[in-house]
Symmetry: D2
Subunit: 340 residues, 4 copies
């Protein structure tokens, strides 16, 4: 039996339905670069899920989905308001700046979340040519800390963005987990969103994300941006096949719901243990907790996971579509031992 | 039976060994981003094929492999000498300029090939601060026109590059086809090369290319460049699995040799037909020919392929690893009918 | 008496009226960055000369005026059609690519000039996501070879540009010389132009050029582009003062007309000399000629000038606003001696 | 008598010696782009002031001096640690990101100053390919808040930088004022600095700054970077003439000392007024203070100055080389009235 850990949802396997879909698509020749029937079907599926104006562009990974969104949304002097903890700020090796030429205006969120009040602090110096002008609000749903924006919270942010003429971008590398958590449809979740990254890789794909453009004005020329930004797959049908599997019969929702459930179960099992404190609301598929350093060391000999904040001994335990209840129980038991 | 055409080697399927390797790798959890055992094995395979100093970095596609190579090789004021027909000049939507900030100094090659004489014309204005300084010679092996550089030709170019302190880059999206054509090993083919793109997608992979760095000084910091350039796969093991299959037991060579053979066979079958002229030496897996426009129209109703040069009625017929002798014969027959 | 040569019009002095204007502006404090009365007056002068919709943005130098124009006119996937000899292609050290991220699509002009036919060759692959899309036609008036586009020629190019939705940019580093040559007003010269660089430095200023935007849609956000592109002068009033002098009482035209006249005189004096061939139409302030290498060497010991094309022994002799008839005669005599 | 305010030292006039130097240089022809005798003399003067390894490159403005320094010092994946208040972070319209492609890692300084402790917080994730790597520490001397780093403070920061392999950059737009404040020579002030921006415009020039490179490895290719970044003046002699005046007989020091003195005098005159609180140490030529909003309004009707922080009613009063004692007294009197 192969080992499963809690390092990341991208340490997980490919969902068997997805792999099967690749195999099924592997017959005969097909025009490259998305000019094939399968890709067109998938574009239709995205319209079903996100609304008929939605346009989906498949890309290889999540950093690309984010950076391409910024390239589409920002004029050269426009900047992006985001949380200090945003993936694009801390985990994309400066790609927004180096590849999109865009400055990020960060605020310290609470549990990774923006608020209108925080955003408001960076809406300043409008019309002052010495300062970049805020052009985009980018929020992660769910956040990098596993928390979710409630629909009313999204509403408030989107309203503020509209007032100030800002584009709303959602980093949805784990949008499925947020949808599962909120029991909301994707259209509800993105009702006032202009452009988003929709994650597949963390939810059972081999590799594949989508930039979904809901505001048609941002779609102009996007096919060139994708190609120029090194993200146009030649054998596109195999990206499309993965998404067809994911988007059919709500596979995306089932896998995300399961991952969330596993995290909830883990939190339940370890939450009361002495010496361990859960540090963030467990709303999707991550459990953040502080644990004594010795216990961390003991556990990492047995299981893969990341220490999120060395200074505080805060760990992140991530569940994925293929985490089993048994995995969780075995791990919780190990945590109990390490703490005793 | 599914349809096969002659549009591109990226219209082909995934080789069954490659798909199987993906399935086999799909068990248990693995650290992402290449920190897994499979990726390490593949790095070892690249050393076996390209020499022990070789370092291989897997990326998603060929444009990326090229542009990342340029980012690694060029200082901001350095430019790249390449053929007018180079993929990076005509088929990457300005990515070298927009993403790498690099100017291309093009020359009109013959059948897509550079010569020392042609390169020499762009080695000029050295030390003149008003002009970009030539920093890289980039050649495609095989070229976009299916032709190959003989070892002596490579030697001459590399010698010139050394004399002028230029980095030698090879766009090897189809390097396997060149190796097959020349019956040369990959180390022979790249003996004096500093950095190259090694293609997988056109040779049976789902998606995957490698930047292979032979000059160690160019590898410094490349892991950051890859991440920043949106090319670090999180589930890297599935890129690695594909390459493990491709690089094991010379699969890459067998597939490439087969594709070349099919092109040779096609050329043989159609080369003498009245009204058709083969326009480029058929050295790898492409056949270029001029054909009367009416015949092109007739043929395109039955088979996929590209018109390369509308003005001249020049077509490109591309064979791939999965082209069968029957495909070729059926197509050649159709060409015969269309011309008669 | 100080030495004057024929190297470049930027080897010349500051026109005394311009220097005096700087001195006159040098009193009391003024808000920086163009928020001063003098700058506003100059913006008014530009409207008088280029039409009331014209908006002028002062910058430091000609490369900047060109590159900022491209930043304003191009979306990321758009490219610029220009002559192989264009300043932005050969004399800006790759700034269009490195700073604006823009690819240049060059054509071999005749005496530095584009034609609709030449431009048409680069209007291709429209809608093909693999190729940059032509977005701008950039022509130099006068050209780097001293030639001018007649009004009918401009008309033809602009008509073609309109048909294909291309922006028309003029590199007018020496637009004054073209206006003098054509005896045309600046509005006539730029009737169908969207954006242009208007030169001052080569026409008697200490330093200063203007980006003049005639198509209002290109002016949106330009103040940010100027600042971000490192071209916003803090003590703007001293750039403005120079332009006020230049644009008042047609000083710009008198100086340009004089420089043109001096070149015509020089051409007249040397044009018939045996062994010397004038190689380009002498239409503005430059004389291009082929001269035996020995004569070049003799002359360069006495006078500064550039060898334009080493291979052909083609020299460029440039007259400027401060070239005197005596300078020309003395030089022509020296040429005569060197050739005899 | 012309009006003088307290808005900025770039609202001031050109120093008469500087203007005279321009006039004196305005004779005869000179090769452009710095290939003239005057520019070479000035390069010598910089060596006298900054040490014989110093190389000075004149540019047009301060944003350019900063951004070019970053282009010279950073590889693509390297980031710059600086204060939140740094000019490059808040007043260059995103040029570091858009033009240099560089991410800034900001810390909240105290009165605009970095400390080793603050810097240390951003030296993290070394070797982690997902994160930009700190490559440069950039500090302003004096800071944007008018404060200065003591030599021991510089020492501590430079020591830390050396330990971690970071380049030390100084934004010295007002380095002269810091030198005057510390009574230190420029070599003492920059003993452990690798590259710096040396300001002229705020200290009596028409326009002109210098990038001074003390670490020779950073000078390689800088002439290309300057040209490519749109900062190579064609009539360079007139930038050089200004610097020759400024660097001769310590004019730079006299002017800076005077400006500092005027600020000290102003602080003395208004510091005890009821309702006014001086908010930053007055160490150079700026006085920061909080003043009741009504008083600000009254004063701004009479004098130009900036409100630095609207929220706190904090103003900035800037003295310059041409501020007179009478100006200061008149202003102080007005402040007194406005507060009474």
């Amino acid at each position: 039996m192969s080992k499963r850990g809690f390092a990341s949802d991208n340490a997980a396997t490919i969902h068997p339905d997805v792999l099967e879909a690749i195999a099924e698509a592997n017959t005969g020749h097909a025009f490259g670069y998305g000019h094939d029937a399968l890709t067109q079907r998938v574009e239709g599926l995205f319209k079903e899920l996100f609304g008929r104006d939605a346009r989906a562009f498949l890309v290889f990974n999540g950093s690309a989905a984010n950076v391409l969104s910024l390239r589409a949304a920002c004029r050269p002097w426009e900047a992006v308001i985001c949380a200090e903890t945003a993936h694009m700020n801390v985990d994309e090796c400066g790609a927004p700046e180096a590849i999109a030429g865009v400055k990020l205006l960060t605020v310290e969120g609470v549990d990774g979340k923006l608020t209108p009040e925080l955003i408001g602090r960076r809406i300043e110096r409008i019309g002052d040519e010495h300062a970049v002008q805020p052009g985009v609000v980018s929020l992660a749903q769910c956040t990098e800390l596993g928390t979710v924006y409630k629909l009313a919270e999204l509403d408030a942010i989107a309203g503020q963005a509209r007032t100030h003429g800002l584009v709303v971008h959602v980093d949805g590398a784990r949008l499925a987990n947020a949808a599962a958590a909120l029991e909301a449809s994707l259209t509800e979740l993105t009702a006032e969103v202009d452009i988003l990254s929709f994650g597949g890789t963390k939810n059972g794909l081999l590799a594949g994300e989508a930039v979904v453009i809901l505001n048609p004005s941002l779609a102009e020329g996007f096919e060139y941006l994708r190609k120029q930004s090194l993200q146009l797959a030649s054998k596109m049908r195999f990206l499309a096949a993965q998404f067809e599997a994911l988007l059919t019969d709500e596979l995306w929702l089932h896998t995300a719901r399961h991952a969330n459930l596993m995290a909830a179960r883990l939190a339940e099992l370890v939450g009361e243990l002495p010496g361990l404190t859960i540090t963030r609301p467990v709303e999707t598929n991550a459990v953040f907790a502080t644990v004594p350093r010795e216990a961390i060391e003991v556990l990492r000999r047995q299981f893969d996971f990341y220490v999120w904040d060395e200074a505080r001994d805060e760990v992140r335990w991530m569940c994925s579509w293929d985490t089993t209840e048994e995995d969780v129980e075995r791990f919780a038991t190990a945590v109990g031992h390490a703490l005793s």
